[in-house]
């Protein structure tokens, strides 16, 4: 058995699952509302119940998103020269022949992704609560409806990229989401600045 190193704490792994699960549930129900998908509504026993599921999944997502800040925000705000070089070589994702600079715990793509999720997440949560609780204020409702849908477009574009990069594109990464650990040897190659 290879020697493992812990990359994510237990509460981080758990919270990421809650965040991911609620997010996917919200996206599916969101699409169902947007495009009147009656088959999806039927799964929940109708659109009225689906609305409750969507609202309360939103509460779970909001809490989970705020909690995730303690895991990722500090890292996501720091970028160094290697990070700039990483963008120049597109993280090595467009060619296996370029030299990718040594990375810390997260690469700048992941850090930027987190900031996008945090900002779009706060926007979609606040606008969602406005649609839920401020029904009688016409201008707030229409603004919130617009913000909610703009943030939704951001989510459906960036989240699949994140899922792809965390599974197929980087074999082994998904294991970190499950166990919170990765083999030491792999960590030395992928995260030299973090391991040292």
């Amino acid at each position: 058995m290879a020697e493992m190193v812990r990359k994510s704490s237990v509460d981080e792994v758990l919270n990421h699952w809650i965040l991911a699960g609620s997010c996917i549930l919200l996206v599916i129900t969101g699409f169902a509302f947007l495009f009147h998908m009656e088959s999806v509504g039927g799964v929940f026993g109708g659109f009225d119940t689906m609305k409750s599921v969507h609202n309360w999944a939103g509460v779970v997502f909001s809490v989970s998103l705020l909690y995730s800040m303690r895991h990722y925000l500090a890292d996501a705000l720091h970028y160094d020269a290697d990070d700039r070089q990483w963008f120049k070589v597109a993280g090595g994702y467009l060619s296996h022949k370029v030299k990718v600079p040594p990375m810390g715990k997260y690469n700048p793509g992941q850090k930027l992704y987190y900031l996008i999720i945090l900002l779009a997440g706060i926007a979609i949560a606040l606008s969602g609560f406005a649609i839920w609780f401020m029904k009688d204020n016409g201008s707030i409702m229409l603004l919130a409806h617009l913000v909610h849908n703009v943030a939704f477009v951001v989510f459906v574009v960036v989240v699949p990229v994140h899922i792809y990069l965390g599974t197929l594109a980087n074999p082994g990464t998904f294991g970190i989401m499950v166990t919170g650990t990765m083999p030491l040897e792999t960590a030395k190659k992928r995260h030299p600045k973090w391991i040292s």
Binding site: F33, F47, K51, K97, L142
Partner: protein, 257 residues
């Protein structure tokens, strides 16, 4: 973004200058739709109820405007759902079937399918939909149940002066024009309204909204954001698949150049 097109579209033609403000239309509507009475306060006008409500699908709006001949002119305007061809309420509603188009071209509601989000209230250019005590949408449905049984809506049936007429929309528009009404309000607005108004004067005088439009944010959302969410999702999933096939997953050692 018309919700539907209809060849046998029915309409109510309101001719405000024929209206005597008797409010029989209000009573007939309540009677047919079994709507309860609303306790109101005298606020210095004959207008009662003061506004459309979950128990008032139609109402007469009373307004006093300056006049050359008399001290004041007293105008009566029968209001209800406009049954827009391009209906903002139907466009924004997230629950299929909660607001729907009848065979006669009216916009009706199904309270069992309403999820109580109130988006329709905010997308309506005419401030028509109201929520009842159970937070379900209500509004005029052009008495689709009466029309389906070969009758006309309760309000037009009871109107004693002809201020309210029900019939084939095209015929009503043609007849009103022949009678010399210069302005048919709602003939073209929002794809054509199902409640049309015949005026010889400026509709604004009677308190009609000028250039009614669906809120621009709703139009933008419907025209661009909705398709963009599908195109965006499909695009990145497709791009990921192409990346996986063309370039392939990450390798821990870079290849020799």
């Amino acid at each position: 973004m018309a919700n539907n097109t209809n060849t046998s579209r029915k309409a109510i033609l309101v001719t405000p200058e024929l209206c005597i403000g008797c409010r029989a239309c209000q009573v007939a509507c309540k009677s047919w739709n079994q709507l309860s009475a609303i306790k109101t306060k005298n606020n210095g006008t004959y207008q009662n109820p003061p506004d459309l409500a979950s128990a008032a699908y139609n109402m007469i709006q009373y307004s006093e405007v300056p006049s050359d001949q008399n001290a004041v002119r007293w105008l009566f305007l029968s209001r209800r759902c406009m049954h827009c061809e391009d209906a903002g309420c139907m466009t924004i509603c997230p629950s299929p079937g909660a607001l729907y188009r009848t065979d006669d071209g009216a916009v009706a509601f199904d309270r069992d399918k309403c999820i109580g989000c109130k988006l329709c209230v905010n997308a309506c250019p005419f401030d028509v939909p109201r929520y009842d005590a159970e937070d379900k949408v209500t509004k005029c449905h052009l008495c689709f149940d009466r029309i389906g049984a070969g009758m006309e809506p309760a309000c037009t049936k009871t109107c004693p002066t002809g201020a309210l007429k029900f019939g084939d929309r095209d015929e009503l528009v043609g007849a009103a024009k022949q009678e010399g009404f210069g302005t048919i309000y709602g003939e073209k607005d929002l794809g054509g309204l199902g409640s049309i108004y015949a005026f010889k004067e400026e509709p604004k005088l009677y308190g009609m909204k000028e250039n009614p439009e669906i809120p621009s944010s709703v139009v933008f959302w419907h025209t661009y954001l909705k398709p963009l969410s599908l195109i965006g999702l499909g695009g990145v999933v497709g791009a990921a698949a192409i990346h996986y096939l063309a370039i392939g997953p990450h390798k821990d050692q870079e290849e020799e150049v």
